[in-house]
């Protein structure tokens, strides 16, 4: 850090340092540029913008993806970010999530219109991804706040921008809930600042500052701060907004919501709990309860949902709980398991939403009741649905099983190491939750295959390319079960660099 007396001295140095560090934010910069490009394109052309907007967005994202894989670990901008291979991988996954969302959106004319007629939806999506990508690596409370807000505002827009009574309602709820959550979070952050005098959580003074604070104010501050993260993670108790939003928003957008902000928040939590570990605050217990509650509430509430997307919202709440398990494990293996889980979750969740969007396309609604008997007409799609649902439940032979296996193994290991009861409960309740999960995940295949169709549905709407895409989304789930070492070794190589 610089001498205070001579501020202007070293400015040049500082600026060049900033310029040098800029590469670390390559993906974000790329996304920002893409946003501008989309905007400009949107302004320049009047009609038939679909191809242009899609290709700009796509190219931008892919470019960001490529760049993200070239970045090295480091702590650019004076410790505002802490990039390690782990959260770079997360970043990669986040951007990949964006790419896949675009692909999913391009499978449906309705969504093509939504995204392509005008650039806003694309811009907002890119913003969400950019925010999430920043979120995943920032170690500065201010940066965290801004990143979360960036993601949030993008999400509000994504929810609200498409017309519709329900969408507007959902967006309003979202924005109000989000506003309060972020207010709570920064209130907590302000205390943390008060405790430590620094916003940089990787700064040693942050940690030492926290160590001297009595437990009650410390807990208040941490709970409020983490509360803001939980909002992005849509974990209990700040999950309540998500079913409404998921039900209303366009399916590809929901897919984005269910992955990108969540995983970013998990990455953030990992950084954060790393900074507050071993102080008085028993964050493992706290997050453990949150994880258990998320899994339980998510799974149980999903049981009797009639709308597939709403059901998936609860499912994603439950998965937030599962992801939290990896955080709680708080170990190298836990992080690895989280990466694996995140990758698999990306695939299965996107797969699920893609297939739901197909059915939506076919039946015009995401209502599970409408799916009666379709499985027999489009058997291959039905099979894909079964695989995805099994993966989401976490049963073999899908990668969902390996993901659960790894993540629960890591919590087992942590428990063996520390003997903290909460870890055992997380372990047991988490696994038992799978049974509950099966109930509702199987409802979709159940309706697809067991129920008599109500009426003849128009099958012509699905093209073979749709099927191929569905397959491409789903098959890795099987492959990664049988050769999960491919992914794990890949992730391990990354970790070794760390």
């Amino acid at each position: 850090m610089k001498e205070q007396s001579n501020i202007v001295d070293g400015l040049g140095e500082k600026l060049s340092e900033i310029a040098g560090d800029l590469f670390y934010l390559g993906p974000e910069v790329t996304l920002a540029i893409t946003i501008i490009l989309v905007l400009v394109y949107d302004l320049l052309f009047k009609d038939k913008k679909e191809v242009g907007i899609f290709s700009i967005g796509f190219v931008g994202l892919v470019f960001a993806l490529v760049i993200s894989s070239f970045i090295n670990a480091g702590t650019p901008f004076g410790g505002m970010f802490s990039l390690n291979m782990w959260n770079l991988t997360i970043k990669f996954l986040l951007i990949l999530g964006g790419v896949l969302m675009l692909i999913m959106a391009s499978r449906d004319q309705k969504n093509i219109n939504r995204f392509g007629k005008s650039g806003e939806l694309m811009i907002a999506s890119l913003t969400v991804i950019m925010g999430a990508s920043l979120m995943s690596s920032s170690t500065n409370l201010l940066m965290i706040y801004v990143a979360i807000e960036l993601t949030s505002i993008g999400s509000y827009i994504l929810t609200g921008i498409v017309r519709g009574r329900k969408r507007s309602e959902a967006a309003l709820k979202y924005v109000l809930f989000g506003g309060v959550s972020s207010a709570i979070m920064i209130y907590g952050m302000s205390w943390l600042y008060g405790f430590t005098g620094t916003l940089n959580i990787s700064d040693p003074t942050f940690f030492s500052g926290l160590s001297n604070v009595p437990i009650l104010p410390l807990s208040i501050a941490l709970v409020m701060t983490i509360g803001g993260f939980l909002f992005k993670l849509s974990a209990f108790p700040l999950h309540i907004w998500s079913p409404d939003v998921y039900q209303a928003a366009p399916t590809p957008v929901v897919a984005l919501f269910s992955f990108v902000p969540k995983v970013a928040a998990i990455a953030l939590l990992i950084q954060f709990v790393g900074a507050i570990n071993t102080i008085d605050f028993d964050w493992q217990l706290w997050l453990g309860i949150v994880a258990i509650a998320s899994m339980t509430v998510g799974n149980f509430s999903a049981l009797w949902q009639k709308n597939a997307k709403r059901m998936m919202a609860y499912s994603s709440i439950a998965h937030a709980g599962f992801l939290l398990v990896g955080v709680i494990a708080f170990s190298e293996s836990g992080n690895l398991a989280l990466l694996f889980y995140a990758a698999v979750y990306l695939l299965m969740n996107y797969g699920a939403f893609l297939l739901i969007s197909y059915f939506e396309k076919q039946t015009g609604s995401a209502n599970i009741n409408k799916l009666r008997g379709i499985g027999l007409d489009v058997p291959w799609l039905g099979v894909l649905v079964v695989i995805v649902m099994i993966a989401l439940t976490g049963l073999p032979p899908t990668a969902g099983f390996n993901a659960k296996l790894l993540i629960f193994s890591s919590i087992w290991e942590s428990w063996q190491g520390s003997g903290a009861q909460v870890l055992l409960w997380v372990f047991i309740i988490g696994l038992l939750n799978t049974v509950v999960a099966l109930f509702y995940y199987l409802r979709i295949p159940y309706y697809l295959f067991f129920k008599r169709p109500e009426k003849e549905i128009d099958k012509a709407k699905l093209t073979s390319i749709d099927i191929v895409w569905g397959t491409i989304f789903v098959i890795p789930l099987l492959v990664l079960f049988f050769k999960s070492d491919w992914l794990v070794d890949f992730l391990n190589n990354i970790n070794f660099v760390l």
Binding site: K173, L216, P237, V436
Partner: protein, 712 residues
């Protein structure tokens, strides 16, 4: 220390095995082939049985004086335990194969005529073949496990044969009853097998006997010492298991030999064809229990033997009482059979091993004879059936005076009856006398209440004479009561004597019931049978063997010899006389016998209903089990499954609770509090889900709660 493997190791090739296999193979062939060749099945299987009988008799004669032959082999291995099989041919076995084959053959012959008009003849003869096979199996194998297997097979064949006319509901029910009652006994026997196996690790009877000698009672524990493959083995069980083993094995006999309390199946088993009754339910299968007891005799300890004796005596007495008042000719004979089996069992129980077996053999002849005679009568009366003439041809109330029309049958029946009653000159006297002699000696030694046991036995003697001569008088003397019942005089003339195929077996069996066959001596111990088949040496650890058989046979018997014979003869004659006065041709009872009602007096009812044992079982046990089953099914369906469904429901409820939680605690916790604080009006207006403010509120509440949790 004795080596187990030496005892059970396979023997070298012995040509005897061929004979044995032949003996077993021919009936099996008869069974299988009869099923396929249909038309000529009766003659074919009878022929096969003739061959087999020939072989059996040939074997009996040629090997009688030789040493016992033992052939062993390995059936299968279970871990390092060798499950061996072994054949054992001693005199008892030789005698039994001859007896079984002979009677089976005679019954085959008889059946050719008796079952002539039945379209399921091949099946019938197949069953007979299977039965003979299984019965011979019991006799030839000298391994408890294999005996048990054939034991069950015999029960199974009996089930098939009792239920042969399966269209009759009573027949199928009787078959079930027989099988289940046998199964109960078998379950007990299986327990015995478990105990012996746990102790000796083998089922080979010879080996078990040899090892039994080396077992000891130590501190109330029954310890078996031996080496197995050179390794020392010390198996120890509580001493009471020794008695339990004996009693458990006896359970098998109780089932098969129709002893109290499982004897109820035998009277019902008369639903089967009469020749079957003669073969299975009189001569052979029911005697298998006695045979088994004889085989394991040396393994039974004092307690077990006591139980055997008491059960035998009780059975003998109860069945004899029951036989007094039956109207069905076969039922009388059935109860008689039970009673006589009770004698045999009691004989084993009192240590009269050879006497019991002797009675087995004599009884086989005269009881089979009685059944076949009854069969002839039934068969011939059945021919009277026509469109207008319908009656129960087994009911003695319709019979009478048949002596005139069926003289040969009458003669045979009479001889067998005399043998049954135990009058001198007939085989029954010899064996019964031997049993009573031993039993009396036994009671002498034991004293006290044990006299009651032999009291029952003596009482049965007189009762036997009464019921069997009741039968003789009512069936063969005075007029044909069917005429007066149906008001059709001259019906008597239509009754014919049975043809030779029917008669010859009966005649042969009757001849076998004359005592000369077993030696021209009035003293049982002087018969060739008692000479050759002698009491074995007792093997049970000494402290558990309460008395010495040697004492019993030598000293006491001699002193009792004279008067036991006298008492038994006078009792039999007394019975004959009573019977004569009650049922003689001109007695009051005989005159109106066609209208004889079911007995009304207490004793009569007990007798007629066989001590109400069936009723008791039906009411108490069967009902209980069925109700229990139903209750359990209900439990299973409603409670257990309901519980699980309940769990699922709970899950639903839980889901609802959670949703409710989501909705009312997360939404409505607020409202709840609102309403409790008296603002119901506002609450009703505001109870609305989907409200973002309640979301926020509840999220905050939950956050605070979580925070407080941490603080606690």
């Amino acid at each position: 220390m004795i080596e187990l493997q030496d005892l059970i190791s396979p023997t070298d090739y012995d040509p005897m095995i061929n004979w044995i296999l032949l003996l077993l193979g021919i009936p099996l062939l008869s069974f299988i082939s009869s099923l396929f060749i249909k038309k000529n099945a009766p003659i074919w299987s009878t022929f096969l049985l003739l061959v087999n009988t020939g072989i059996a008799i040939f074997m009996a004669f040629s090997f009688w004086y030789g040493d016992s032959v033992s052939i062993k082999g390995v059936w299968f291995t279970l871990g390092d335990t060798v499950m061996s099989y072994s054949f054992y041919l001693d005199r008892l076995a030789l005698l039994m194969i001859a007896l079984v084959n002979l009677i089976s053959f005679l019954v085959h012959v008889f059946s050719m005529e008796y079952m002539k008009s039945d379209r399921n003849k091949p099946r019938y003869f197949a069953y007979l073949g299977l039965f003979t096979f299984s019965m011979l199996g019991i006799v030839l194998f000298h391994n408890l496990l294999l005996m048990f297997i054939f034991w069950e097979l015999v029960g199974f064949t009996s089930y098939l044969l009792i239920g042969f006319w399966f269209e009759k509901k009573t027949a199928s029910l009787a078959a079930n009853k027989a099988f289940i009652m046998n199964r109960i006994g078998d379950a007990g026997m299986l327990t015995g097998l478990m105990i012996l196996f746990a102790q000796f690790s083998t089922f080979d009877l010879e080996a078990v006997k040899a090892l039994m000698i080396f077992s000891e009672i130590e501190d109330g524990n029954w310890v078996a010492h031996f080496t197995n493959n050179g390794q020392e083995v010390m198996n120890s069980l509580d001493g009471r298991w020794l008695s339990a083993a004996g009693i458990a094995l006896f359970c098998g006999a109780v089932g098969k030999s129709a002893q109290f309390p499982l004897q109820v199946w035998l009277p019902d088993a008369m639903e089967g064809p009469t020749p079957v009754s003669a073969l299975i339910h009189a001569a052979t299968m029911v005697a298998a229990g006695v045979f088994l007891l004889a085989r394991v005799f040396v393994l039974l300890d004092a307690q077990a033997l006591e139980v055997v004796a008491i059960v035998g005596a009780i059975t003998a007495f109860m069945a004899a009482i029951a036989a007094l008042s039956q109207f069905d000719i076969k039922k009388v004979l059935a109860y008689s059979t039970i009673s006589q089996l009770g004698y045999m069992v009691m004989a084993i129980g009192v240590g009269a091993y050879s006497a019991g077996l002797f009675h087995l053999v004599t009884h086989a002849f005269f009881k089979a004879g009685l059944f076949l005679c009854a069969g002839i009568i039934i068969h011939q009366l059945h021919k009277l059936h026509s469109d207008e003439i319908k009656f129960n041809e087994q009911d003695i109330r319709v019979m009478g005076g048949l002596r005139l029309k069926m003289p040969v049958t009458f003669l045979c029946f009479l001889i067998c009856s005399l043998a049954l009653a135990g009058l001198p000159g007939f085989s029954g006297f010899l064996s019964k006398d031997a049993i009573l002699l031993n039993a009396t000696a036994w009671a002498e030694i034991k004293g006290g209440g044990y006299y009651i046991v032999i009291g029952l036995a003596y009482a049965s003697v007189i009762l036997t004479a009464i019921y069997i001569f009741r039968l003789v008088f009512l069936v063969f003397t005075r007029g044909f009561r069917l005429e007066s019942i149906l008001n059709k005089p001259g019906l008597m003339d239509k009754v014919k004597e049975g043809n030779l195929i029917l008669l010859i077996p009966a005649i042969l069996l009757a001849v076998g019931s004359i005592s000369i066959v077993f030696g021209a001596n009035v003293k049982a111990e002087n018969t060739w049978f008692m000479q050759f088949i002698t009491n074995p040496i007792y093997l049970v650890p000494e402290s558990y063997a309460a008395f010495s058989l040697v004492d019993l046979s030598e000293a006491t018997i001699k002193s009792l010899h004279g008067w036991v014979a006298i008492v038994s003869i006078s009792l039999a004659v007394g019975g004959l006389v009573i019977s004569y006065f009650l049922y003689r041709p001109i007695s009051k009872k005989a005159l109106i016998f066609q209208d004889a009602p079911e007995p009304r007096g207490a004793l009569g009812r007990i007798s007629f209903n066989h001590w109400y044992q069936d009723v008791l079982y039906e009411k108490a046990i069967v009902k209980f089990i069925v109700i229990k089953g139903k209750a359990l099914a209900w439990f299973d369906e409603k409670i257990l499954d309901g519980f699980v469904n309940g769990l699922a429901k709970t899950q639903v409820v839980l889901a609802h609770i959670v949703r409710w939680f989501d909705k009312y605690i997360i939404d409505g916790f607020v409202h709840l509090t609102v309403s409790t604080s008296g603002r119901i009006g506002q609450a009703t207006r505001s109870i609305q889900s989907g409200n973002v403010q309640t979301y926020i509120l509840s999220a905050m509440i939950l956050l605070i709660l979580l925070l407080l949790w941490l603080m606690i």
